[in-house]
């Protein structure tokens, strides 16, 4: 199996505080992997380790077949893109000048600036000073900055936090297009709708420990009670267990044309997270 990320027995502590506690996971190449957890669960620390910003002593970490000891090398950095919640831009410079700097740092052709501005729908803002942009537009420039060198893997730490639905949808479309082109995406978020919409697989992180992992569909099936939820035309809401003895009951409802809606129980990722960790995602 071709993995973009391999993590085995990763631990990280700051002084006496154990932030990451023996986690292991793999991310396949071309996958959108969601790392979900509440604030302070260790998501950002994990991203910092995977991008070489923090050094770990315990555990084995490999990204794009490069061992963590070599994460500070320029040729590794050229292959990854990062957008974190505290990434920022040079406020006095224009959008174009900001992207030009990173184009040159990554040895990417300058023509790439217009391509990426088109993708994040900011062509008209190329000459604008960054300080004059809205928060949503700045976030799209940051995304453009992270993608300007066409990285093989992108690490996105809460890329849509505090954005309006319009800008959020813009970023989601951009990420889906990017993934279709073969880029692996490692995404941390506490927005369960975003995770359900974008991710091929998700992992739940709580207090530095991985508590569950799988595709949203698998998890929803696993934590489903498999009961049928029936709403009848006379306003009754019934929950019928998925058992052979209840077959006649359901058939009668259908035959007598009483069923307004019928669906199986599938919890949302948020409900599953609550069930697994006993905590809401905030």
């Amino acid at each position: 199996m071709d993995y973009a990320i391999e993590v085995q027995g990763l631990k990280k502590a700051f002084h006496q505080n154990q932030v990451i506690n023996d986690i292991s996971f793999q991310v396949k190449k071309g996958e959108i992997f969601g790392f979900l957890g509440p604030s302070g669960s260790g998501k950002t620390t994990t991203i910092k380790i995977l991008t070489g910003e923090l050094v770990q002593k315990d555990g084995y970490v490999k990204v794009l077949d490069v061992h963590s000891q070599k994460f500070s090398r320029a040729n590794f950095r050229s292959r990854i893109g990062i957008l974190s919640d505290n990434s920022s831009l040079y406020e006095r410079l224009t959008v174009y000048d900001n992207l030009k700097l990173f184009c040159k740092l990554y040895h990417a052709p300058l023509e790439q600036i217009d391509v990426i501005l088109h993708e994040v729908d900011l062509v008209d803002a190329r000459k604008k000073i960054v300080s004059k942009l809205s928060k949503g537009m700045k976030q799209r420039v940051l995304l453009a900055k992270a993608l300007i060198h066409q990285p093989e893997i992108v690490f996105l730490d809460e890329p849509t936090s505090a954005l309006d639905p319009g800008n959020m949808a813009h970023i989601h479309r951009g990420l889906q297009k990017l993934n279709e082109a073969g880029t692996t995406i490692f995404l941390t978020t506490h927005d369960m709708e975003e995770a359900t919409l974008l991710c091929d697989r998700v992992a739940f992180l709580n207090k530095g420990e991985l508590q569950e992992m799988g595709s949203p569909e698998e998890l929803r099936y696993k934590y489903s009670t498999h009961a049928f939820h029936v709403e009848t035309f006379d306003g009754k809401k019934l929950i019928i267990e998925n058992e052979a003895k209840n077959g006649d009951k359901i058939r009668d409802l259908i035959v007598n044309d009483r069923v307004k809606s019928l669906h199986t129980d599938k919890p949302t990722l948020g409900q599953i997270f609550l069930k697994v960790t006993g905590k809401e995602l905030v």
Partner: protein, 231 residues
Amino acid sequence: MNTQRISAIFEKDLKDFMKNMMLLMMPIIPIVLAVVYSRLGEGEELPLVVIYIVVGVIFSAVTTSIMMTMMAEENEKKTLRGLMLSPASFLDIIIGKSLVTGLMTLITLVISFSIIGFGPILNIYTIIGLFLLFLFFLFLGIGIGLFSKSIASTSAYMMPVMFLFGFTPMIEFLGLPEGSFGLKLADNFPLMQVMKVSDTGSWLPLGVVTIWVIGAALFTLICFKKTKTDD
């Protein structure tokens, strides 16, 4: 080290400098000082002490201050992190910024000396001495800038640098007794040593300044290591 990355950082910092009023004002201070002192001289050549006060102000208010402020702003706005996570090395970043600081220092030196006269510095010893002083003040700026979390905090660090290393020749006006500890100590400071070079044309003071430069470089290295290990 990569020249394309260095030139990218130089270009960005130069553009940013030109749009930053706070940084643009820094070179004005020594130039105004040079104008005031040149008027006091009434056409006569200025005393070496006065010339080196201008030199001290140029290096502290321009070299150290610009470098320190640029680094502190990158820290405060978290843009330094973006650069550090790019393929640019720390050396590429520092050299790019130093070239901007160097260019501004050179322009300020040329303007200031064209006002007070180039005479006292037109010899190889002094030019080497001034270059070593530039490196010393540059390293101080990088080091302090690395541990400054905000631009506001740099002004607190700027004062001791300016008074200790920029205004050292002023100790002569304090009326301290000949051979006192204060005078002896100040005599070994980098600016006083370069003043000695101008006065005597001897190589020895340049050795002392080199030791100061090495000390400042070590200080920068310690500050860099500290910021790298700050989780």
